[in-house]
Amino acid sequence: MLEVKISELAEQMKSGKSKNERIQAALDLGSIKAKEAVDVLVEQLLVEEDEVVREAIVTSLIKIGDEYVANRAAGLLESEDAYVRNAGVEILSIIGEPAIEILQKMINHPDRDVRILAVNALGESHIRETIRYLRRVIMEDDDENVVASAIEYLSELGFEKEDKEVVMKAAKRFSSPFFQYTVKSAIEKMADL
């Protein structure tokens, strides 16, 4: 019964008579907490060209917001399409806790652009472990852009002396003016630690 409903809504979302009907179907799929609903939403997001239907799909994925969504959203970070990548970041950061395990993996992804997106998702999230992961990225990642992103977030989130020390130590890791400026700004923000 549920499968029928999902496939009906999926069909409406793909080829509904009007745009409103397609938007409504995408939003209605967000009320069904089932893997099959997540799959049809993600598959459609990858091919969807209408901006509003895309937004409805992202909204629904956030609404379902479980670990399965997090895993599928992590895959979006590797997309060639900037909208899809950003949607992945947004979904992962907003759903929070269910995304923690996959984000932990994504900060070790071989592609540095994906790692930056994972850091963005962590930094924007409400996940408590964020600080620990940001520190690890700052100390261990070998790409200065990834480390700089993590420093920016840690300067906002860090309230421990140790956070500031991690940033100060990182200053020695890369010498480019961009990186040094990022470190300087972060330390200024953390002046009272």
Binding site: I23, S31, E51, E55, T59, R128, L157, K189, A191
Partner: protein, 267 residues
Amino acid sequence: MTAEEFIKLRDFIYRKTGIYFEERKKYYVESRVEDRIKATGHDNFRSYFTWLRFDVTGKELQELINALTVNETYFFREYYQLKCFAEEILPEIVEKKSSIRVWSAGCSTGEEPYTLAIIMEEMLEGISGVTWEVHATDINTEVIEKAEVGLYSQRSVRLVPEEYKMRYFVAKGEFYEIVPEVKKKVKFYQLNLMDATAMRKMSGFDVIFCRNVLIYFDDASRRQVALYFYEALTEGGYIFLGHSESMSRITPIFKLRRFKNAFVYQK
């Protein structure tokens, strides 16, 4: 609150809501944050901010935003937006159609929808064949009841031009009551902006005013409401948000249109 703590909090609020507090507002922010620190049982900013930052429910952010945003409502609030509506948007709509529908979403005690009704009465009076209506909704039934009564303090009507005050209000002691001709043009009803079934009944609106309402929603709900508004608007319809709110931060589905008097989002 130290200067660094203020910057951390300010940046966080800005990223989450688009509301930006300048340095000169530090004292204002500080006093309200202190109230929230006490109310939540924390004893310092650091512990409060950490808790706020990692609050999954987003409830405390909402409470803080409530405390930081003045909830006061009054007639002819944010005049430049109303001027834009009256002098730029309404004439554009009238050129295309003869029946105009406007929605005040989150109307509170009625000051906004009655202001819109007064403006429409003034601007559309004498244009033959044009009909219009204002729908006004709020989740809170108590404010709807007050709005239907239409009785306002001097403070509420302080920005109403004297000429309009004479024409559209009746003085009742210390209060002012909206005249029945305007009252009957505004349809008040309770509505939850997150209720999918109810929201889908809202359609065919040319303009939606939803000012200083979406700041109280979390990210996911705000996106959802924006999509419902999209469905409720006619093609090319407009949406007004509060001056410190940004639809572009919620969703890219509306175009930002620059008028002489204000920026407005368009479907």
